[in-house]
Each structure stands twice: as structure tokens, then as C-alpha cells.
Symmetry: C2
Subunit: 191 residues, 2 copies
DNA sequence: ACCTGAACACCGTTCAAGT
DNA sequence: ACCTGAACACCGTTCAAGT
């Protein structure tokens, strides 16, 4: 048995920014955003809370920014060649994936919505515009449609996690179907 | 001079739920959501923080719910007769007003997005569906379009306050124009 | 370099007490 | 009925100290 450099004297994996962010996301997903505290995060990492500051000098602000970057940065894949469904199909499947991602981490949605984190959503919007530009959509129309699409996806997810309850208590809303229907409206109008 | 029942012995207007909510909104608009604390709110109301609990027994939770209800509950006006622009025009002007409202109170946007507050958005969604039903849109299409529209408006506002910055540092985005353009896409597709 | 421990200035909330 | 004051169990963060 030679030494294992990834394990320190206390037999624990050493702290890393990535492990901190992932553990924080577990807490948010499991217990909600309000239960994410530096002290609890320290406990989950089996470390004193203050150790976190060594990896995230800006403290909790930086932690929350990291969470947003981790879930909101999901660029769309540019379809290889003339893929089936064309650029609309590529945008549709991106939108479905992105929605699934946001709903899986609904606790961070308020952060995604209002944290001023340029890089996180920027890549995503740029990738959407690129897909449309290749689909021969004019630059202006692509810019508008990209914002419309991202706005729709985020906004609809927000409605879903809130539950608008406009059908009374008993009638159930089929959110999957409703999302797809609204997505069709947006994609049909784009370009 | 007869007695002024609205002024108490300490020469202050008595506390009321409405005055509490409005003062809280002023703090959020002026200093941001993170600076809204019960103690600071008490200071602004010239009262001990604990006095607030007499009017809002559920404490800060109830306070935040009140803020959401105050800014997010804005039903659309049903157009009198066959107004100019028809139902699309009514929805368009509602959307513009609603956006202005959300941007004026951007600090509460994260609360609007994720607080489980049925009544606040429910009235709004119902009023939108009602307008479309009168415009001879089928019930299913109206339900979908209402969610699409509200989702778009909220999501777009979220993008605006974040600032996606996808055009680099110098090129400025005309958010007003972009919102209107996206709104046209959604309204054209609806019905 | 990486982590700890004690300390500071805050939080939200309870509860008994005042008027 | 309405508000106060002290107290409790938490926060995020700084800073000197340990290894």
C-alpha cells in the first residue's frame, strides 16, 4: 500500500471548490435554499465552516454564484450538419433539457433569476443565437428569439414550482404538455 | 380641537398591516431584499421589531407573502365591448404594465418567482384566460397561452434585471424594444 | 497551505411584562 | 389591544493561532 495523495491525515478527501459547490447543491435540493448555511455546509463537508473561506474568499456570495453557474450554464448543442428537425428541433430539445435541469434544482431558481452572474446565462444565450444564425435567421430576429425562448423557459419553470392553482384544487394541470404547447408557440413564431 | 383617533399617545400613526407592507416595500426598493430585516423594518416604522408580530403573527414569512401579493396581483382589465386592438391589444397593454410593475420592484422578483403564494398569480392568470375566452379562443388554447404569456413576462424581466451581457461590454441592448418584439411573437402565436 | 477556535455584530422569534 | 425589553438560538465573517 503506497500513500494515497487524495486522502489527508484525517482520512478525509481534501476540500475543493467543486466538492463544496456539489455538497451545497445537495443541501439545497434536499432541504431548501433557506437551510443552506455556512455552518451546516461545513458539517456536511466534515470541516469547520471557516475552512470554506479558504477556497471561496468571497464567502457565501461566491458560494451562491457558484451554484448558479453550476445549474444555469447549459449551452445548446449545435446540431451536426442538417440534423432531423433542423434548428427548431435543436432548440426544442435544448429547452426540454434546460427545463428538466431547472426543475431538478428548483431551490436555486430564485438565485438563477436575480443573481447578477453574467457568465452563467451568457454562454447559453450565445449558443442559442448561434444555432438560429446557422438556420439562416437574421441576426436581429435571432437575438430577440433567444431572449424570448430563455425568458419563456425560466418563467414557465417559475410558474410550475409556484403552482398557480388557477384550476381550483381538484383539476390537475399537465405541466409537461403545457410546457411543450407553449414552447411550440414560441418556436413557431421565431424566425 | 377634538381628538384624532388615528394618532396615538406617542403622536404616531398606529401600525397596520398595510403600512407595514408598504414600508417593507420601500426598504426593498431602496436597499435591496437582503437588507429587509425585522429590526430595520421596526426602525423605519418607529416601533420595536416585536410589535410587527402582533399584526403579522407568522412573522417574516407572512411579510414576504404580503410583498408578493402587493406587487404580483395585477389582473388584466377586460376590454369594454370590442375595444380597439381587440383581446390581443388588451393582453399587450397588460403585459407592458405588468413588466413595468415587476421592474419597478425588481427586489421582490425572486420572491414572486418561487414563493408558493396561490392567490397572488391566480387572479392574474384567470383574468388573462377570461379575456381570451371572450375573444373566442378555445378553453385549452387560452389556458396554454395564459401560462405562456405570464411565463414570458416574468422570465424576460428576470433576464433584464440580471443583464445577460451577451453582446459584450459595449453593445447596449434595447430591452424595451426586445420585450415588445418577443411579446409580439407570443401574442401572434396565441389563439 | 490549509484548517481551527474564539469572538463580533448581527439575525428571527418567544415570552413575560407593561400600558 | 397593542407595544416593549430581555433573552435564546441561531447567522456570516474576521482574525489570530495552530499544523
Amino acid at each position: 500500500m503506497v500513500r494515497q495523495p487524495a486522502i489527508n491525515a484525517q482520512n478525509r478527501a481534501p476540500l475543493s471548490t467543486e466538492r463544496i459547490i456539489e455538497t451545497a447543491l445537495q443541501i439545497v435540493d434536499g432541504q431548501g435554499l433557506s437551510r443552506l448555511t455556512m455552518r451546516r455546509l461545513g458539517d456536511a463537508l466534515e470541516v469547520e465552516a471557516m475552512a470554506i473561506y479558504h477556497h471561496l474568499p468571497r464567502g457565501k456570495e461566491q458560494l451562491l454564484d457558484g451554484l448558479v453557474a453550476h445549474v444555469a450554464a447549459a449551452p445548446a448543442a449545435v446540431p451536426a450538419g442538417a440534423a432531423d428537425g433542423g434548428w427548431r428541433g435543436a432548440l426544442r430539445s435544448w429547452a426540454r433539457d434546460y427545463r428538466a435541469r431547472l426543475l431538478a434544482h428548483a431551490g436555486v431558481l430564485p438565485l438563477v433569476v436575480t443573481r447578477r452572474n453574467p457568465t452563467a446565462l451568457t454562454e447559453t444565450v450565445v449558443s442559442l443565437r448561434e444555432i438560429m444564425r446557422r438556420g439562416a435567421v437574421t441576426e436581429d430576429a435571432a437575438a430577440t428569439a433567444a431572449h424570448t425562448l430563455v425568458g419563456y423557459v425560466i418563467g414557465h419553470c417559475a410558474l410550475e414550482v409556484r403552482g398557480t392553482g388557477e384550476d381550483g384544487a381538484d383539476r390537475v394541470v399537465d405541466w409537461d404538455a403545457r410546457f411543450d404547447a407553449g414552447l411550440d408557440l414560441v418556436l413557431t413564431a421565431a424566425g
